[in-house]
Symmetry: C2
Subunit: 355 residues, 2 copies
Amino acid sequence: MACIETDGTGRESAATARRTRDDLLERMEEHLRAFLSAEHELWARVNDRAVGAVDALSELVAAGGKRIRPAFCIAGYLAADGDPADPAVVAAAAALEMLHASALIHDDVIDASSHRRGLPTVHAHHSALHAARAWQGESRRYGEGVALLVGDLALVYSEQLMSAAPAAVAAVWNKLRSELMIGQYMDMTAAAEFSVDPRLSRWIALAKSGHYTIHRPLAVGASAAGRADLAPAFAKYGEAVGEAFQLRDDLLDAFGDSAHTGKPAGLDFQQHKMTLLLGWAMQRDERIHSLITEPGHTPDEVRRRLVDTGVPDDVEKHIAALVEQGCDAIADVPIDPVWRAELATMATKVAYRTT
Amino acid sequence: MACIETDGTGRESAATARRTRDDLLERMEEHLRAFLSAEHELWARVNDRAVGAVDALSELVAAGGKRIRPAFCIAGYLAADGDPADPAVVAAAAALEMLHASALIHDDVIDASSHRRGLPTVHAHHSALHAARAWQGESRRYGEGVALLVGDLALVYSEQLMSAAPAAVAAVWNKLRSELMIGQYMDMTAAAEFSVDPRLSRWIALAKSGHYTIHRPLAVGASAAGRADLAPAFAKYGEAVGEAFQLRDDLLDAFGDSAHTGKPAGLDFQQHKMTLLLGWAMQRDERIHSLITEPGHTPDEVRRRLVDTGVPDDVEKHIAALVEQGCDAIADVPIDPVWRAELATMATKVAYRTT
């Protein structure tokens, strides 16, 4: 294991490093709250109905979430020796979380998902409101329309937030965003076709998670600190840990407890998502394809059959190897050893999370 | 009429001014084409399926449109004495058109609209593709999901394009975008409630058209040229001409020919849009409300009843007054008289357009 520091000094500075990161994360929360509250005030002065869109977004942001992208952005920034007193990284981290809110709101429409962070999704909530008030038109279209516009607003806000970060982040920020949209597009197309293609599934997992969740947020942080030299090592680390993150996501969706995750279980089956987990399992057992696509089968049948293929166990082994690979990628990178160790801890946390 | 120049010198310089504007508009088209073609190449190298999202966007952009926002941006820039050789205004104009592409794609989902610029809308096209290929899941959800992501991609691209413009445009650009999203949100909510409230209808018309289509594009141009002092006069001009633009839109939707407009006629009735035209008409004739909301009535019945109220004639008079008001607003503003005259011509063109 290349990335564990064991001496006493290491322990103390590790605690300091984490405290600095957690302080910045807390400042990011405050920045998001203040930004959304200023927007609420602004629109409330214009027209009292206008605040509905801002408030829908605020509720989702306030409902929590894992804040993985801001955490990696801040870790990348501090590992690159960025000044914790500079507000730029707080704005960049907030921008990443706001972009994520936009992606979740739109993704939940695409997946027809009912819950997110333990609350009804934006579209589900507004469809229900429309139905309860017996308004004109179709409730589904209304709810999805609201979610579409609230997600658009979040996308605009994310860019406003990012504009306070140094210009050096622009290249990676642009890449991250177009990659997210195109990754989602390919995910949806692959689900519609539902043909087994592990190479494509892996590409989608990389675009949607490897890059979007870990690699590029780290790179945004490093760029904000002016350390473009860290990009190649952070790319390797981020891609490996990001793939581990996505594989855990697949396992949690298939076998997790929706009371913990705050979203329904088995959605990937229902939406015919061609995940790596399912792609590999179907290569070993063709029957799984029809268990998912043909009516009359329960998610439990799919689960049992998945376990029988042995793929979930192999995925666990693969996750462990990816974490190791991520740690190796940053073994020799010129950063404070404290941050090398902390990035290893973060890799383990995302790979073995339960929500 | 405050804004007509009649001397011979005026005619010659007016021709030069228009040529400069048209050259810049042509450069904007080329910039959009080059940007989208570079994105196509980039994604084609990554994965051959990835280009589908970029190509869907390119088709809409290539299908034409009136380019009203770029034209006002460029006019605002040239009126403010901006250097035509500076590429910044080309990028800003392209960003406005790209944002508009995003808004159209998402708006067509919200309105369940079948055609745009004479082509099937993005969601309609991809729903049909899904159905024809008998893919997994629901065709409507798939088509709308593609449109959602393609619109998101356009929104990201619009910001990438705008980043080449001077930092001075940021404030008006941010305002324009959040106002667009919130204006659309309120438009949708007003349609769902369908209660007559001309004050609200006017606010929505101002947000969606007054600001978005005329005022803020002009202000983006003036800011790019470093002339913040023109903002108040351009605001008055833009709000008046923008309201005229929206009223013409209402009339074209109600009485226009879909062969000319490239989109279906009578969509506002179908979608229960609480336009200014309908709001005023319903204040005079309550029966119009039920003709629109109750099944079994044809658009022709609504049209006849609308004409009987006399509102369409009054709207024509109001449009004329708004054009006059727009011209008056820039009568004394310190810009080249050639541009004052050209802005008057542009006001007349948008107010009396037939598509």
